[in-house]
């Protein structure tokens, strides 16, 4: 039995956000993942981001594939509709859901097995179509549910818990997302909430396909000395290119005082991303420079994190398809059915 309900008790003094919800209203069921799993930290970051963004929980649709990571949508936003689809095929289901109702916010949660192996094709095509969503990959480089096999993101030369060495090259989802046309590409670390929460907020506010690869150590199968996805390894090799603040629409934009270069980028919904560039030569609006920078650092064993690329003018699939503002699932026969007279005319043309 892996279903655990969370007590419904609410302390009356809990702080409410602008839409009247407390942080607890953004929680889901109790996690059944291993204690210390990075994925739970990501769930917590999603909860915090949504609460701080004043999102009504039921206006979010959360979709996932299959695997440890894909179980997590059950553990946040309990008032949202969730959909645990099939292995690797969350992107297509999310695409269809998005086409049906453009008014909801779409959160796609996946794992490295789910997105980099069986679902690589769907991941790639969702990115290139510009489906508006925050696509979060909880990347631990290992198959946890089936007890420790390498996933396609495991680095060449890294070792499994049993000591087996991985001889295959890793699939770099960030590099792929950059090449395929994603308009918001970030990498983060589940152990760095300060960095992760604003990245999630930025992704949710983004007007196109937003992708975040979150290194999320598997405490049971991939948190040992030979792993490049362990807590220790990522902490030691984290190379952050930026820190971001997310400034919601209508909030006052405070004066810039952070050290180093600071850039404000307005998202399509009016919210602002304030980028504190830790490396002043890093340009987050140059897709190919970002790719090159990341590859160079990767060669040195560094895990580059932060907002790696952003196109503030992003468009999405609905714009490409020129669909109506009204959600397609809300249209009735008046808007959809041409009626009997049109049919008679059509019949006449077929004689």
């Amino acid at each position: 039995m892996t279903y655990l309900a969370k007590p419904r008790l609410r302390h009356p003094t809990l702080t409410q956000n602008k839409v009247g919800y407390t942080r607890r209203d953004y929680e889901g069921r109790i996690s059944t993942l291993c204690a210390g799993c990075g994925h739970d930290s990501i769930s917590a970051a999603i909860i915090q981001a949504c609460w701080e963004l004043d999102i009504e929980p039921h206006r979010v649709a959360k979709l996932s594939g299959i695997g440890c990571s894909s179980k997590t949508p059950d553990y946040f936003l309990g008032a949202s509709h969730g959909f645990n689809t099939v292995h690797g095929r969350m992107p297509s289901v999310l695409t269809g859901a998005n086409l049906a109702n453009r008014d909801l916010l779409y959160l796609g949660v996946s794992g490295d097995g789910d997105s980099a192996s069986i679902g690589l094709g769907q991941f790639a095509n969702a990115m290139r179509r510009g489906v508006r969503m925050a696509y979060i990959v909880e990347n631990n480089g290992v198959y946890g549910l089936t007890k420790g096999q390498f996933s396609a993101t495991a680095d060449r030369g890294s070792r499994s818990k049993k000591g087996v060495i991985n001889n295959d090259s890793p699939v770099d989802l960030v590099g792929l997302a950059l090449q395929l046309g994603a308009t918001y590409v970030a990498r983060s670390f589940s152990g760095d909430k300060e960095q992760l929460v604003p990245l999630i907020k930025g992704a949710i506010g983004h007007g196109g396909a937003a992708f975040i690869d979150v290194i999320s150590p598997c405490v049971t199968f991939n948190n040992h000395g030979g792993s490049t996805k362990s807590y220790d390894y990522v902490r030691q090799h984290n190379e952050a290119v930026s820190r971001i603040d997310f400034i919601p629409r209508h909030s006052e934009i405070t004066a810039q005082y952070a050290p180093g270069e600071v850039i404000d980028v307005q998202q399509h919904d009016g919210s602002m991303l304030r980028l504190h560039k830790l490396h002043t030569d890093y340009d987050p609006t140059d897709r190919y420079a970002a790719l090159s920078y990341m590859n160079a650092r990767q060669e040195r064993g560094e895990v580059v994190t932060g907002l790696l690329y952003l196109d503030p003018q992003a468009t999405d699939l609905h714009l490409s398809l020129n669909t109506s503002d009204a959600p397609l699932n809300s249209l009735g026969p008046t808007a959809l059915c041409p009626g009997s007279k049109a049919l008679e005319k059509l019949n006449a043309s077929l004689r």
Partner: protein, 610 residues
Amino acid sequence: MKPMEAINDFVIKFANVNGSGSASANELFAKAILRMGVPVSPRNIFPSNIQGMPTWYEARVCEQGYSGRRGGVDMMVAMNPQTWDADVAEIAPGGYLFYDSTRPIPASKFRQDVSVIGVPLTEISNSAFTDPRQRQLFKNIIYVGALSVLLDVEAEVFETLFAEQYRGKEMLIDANVRALHLGRDYVKEHLQAPLGLRVRRADKVGEQIFTDGNSAIALGCVYGGATVAAWYPITPSSSVPEAFQKYCDKFRVDPDTGRSNFAIVQAEDELASIGMVLGAGWNGARAFTATSGPGISLMTEFIGLAYFAEIPVTIINVQRGGPSTGMPTRTQQSDLLSCAYASHGDTKHVLLFPEDPHECFEHAAAALDLADRLQTPIFLMTDLDIGMNQRLCKPFVWDDARTYDRGKVMTAEELEAGKDFGRYKDVDGDGIPWRTYPGTHPTKGSFFTRGTTRDPYARYSERGPDYIYNMERLCAKFRTAADLVPQPVLRSADQPTSLGVLYFGSTSPAMQEALDVLTASGIHIDALRLRAFPFPDSVERFIAAHELVFVVEQNRDAQMHVLLVNELGVDPARLIKVLHYDGTPITARFITEAIQKQLQGATALIKEAA
């Protein structure tokens, strides 16, 4: 041998080279005969190749209105040297061979028992036109012109068709009319016409329309309110979404805003296309995909999810010859089992079997209603024969008072009023649970959709009783479906009989003819046309009421027979298989002979039937 003679009753076959522009000329020929009030049923026969390879267009002219493939060829228009020998061999004794006589062909290449008609088409075209492409295209119109005199089809009919087709493009009208008359004039001057085969004005077409099943399905999806279509190209279904796009561009673009009330995505593969349809269905939009057998194979995991998670999905399966790549451009009804029980575990799916384009339209709209009502995948099972060939059928009809059946969707108001919501709870006793669309209510009605088992409130559960409750409810829902799907159509024999026949889908036109032929030969059979799976009770009653029941279908393994035995528990010995599966559409001749042969040993039955 005496040349064949027949008025308004013959089969003409055009042997062409793919890409030579013959398709529109051949269609023009068929339409002209229709305009003379004589029913025509053409069929495209094309191997799985692109350009330069053989292609055929076989048109059956039949005043009686039979639109099934008759079998046999009375006149061959042999325009492809590559297939000459086989084409000539196919002509019935006493028939006619029409060919391009520009270049000499050895006498050995002809037959003594057919009449040969040579027209120097290339020479006429080359001397009249200079552009190479025009020479090729108008050569086709020239042979149509020549045939029109030979078969006595009126020139004015063609001229009207040209004027309609090229409205506003006078140059094209003139050039086509000129080409037509080049052919007509040559025949009038050099040959004896008309032939023994000919067309005579009649009034047998009436209000019927001439269209193909794939377009009709697309139109049905427009009228039925589909807003999301996701697909991956595959023969013979690609023209469904392509036609959907065409009709949506015409009917579904808001004139004020220029924005589309639809979304069509050509997905990266079949897995993604069905995934998108699932997502859209889950989120309250009417969505469909169109594919063929290999696509169904790829979609089966998602189909299982849609069945178990209870998501409305409409799947158009335009069947072709399988297994594997099989015969991708030939027709079959061989995906019945793979669709009826698609995916692993215990599943049962609803299948609809339209007989012609008219029903393709109706069933497409009905499928969208049924998908929402039953919250499950609905398969619209057509095939290449219906899908890609134009057929005369009743006009499309739509009742403007008709609304969409969105099924059991709980609203925010109902949730607010405290109505109990258990996503997988059978509250009405019909096996169909209530659902909510994502985003409905701030605190009530949300649930988690998953492929794993759960309790009636959608909470993950591995308890046996929860699983059994769910699986039994799905069976109850399937039984409910039997009353909601299109019901079978009975055609009773002229007199009481212990013989019955079951058939479905594209077999219908050939069956109608076969029944008439059998009746004329003294064999009376009650016929029931199946229009859906699950089978309503009337199917069981029909079988019970007859001693022997033929089951006519176009596949090797008698898949409908298997479904009947499996689902109704019928004694297999009482169901006689009539199977046709060479990739060509079944003919009345085949059915008649198969039934007569089966009955040879059953003298008592024949006597009784007679």
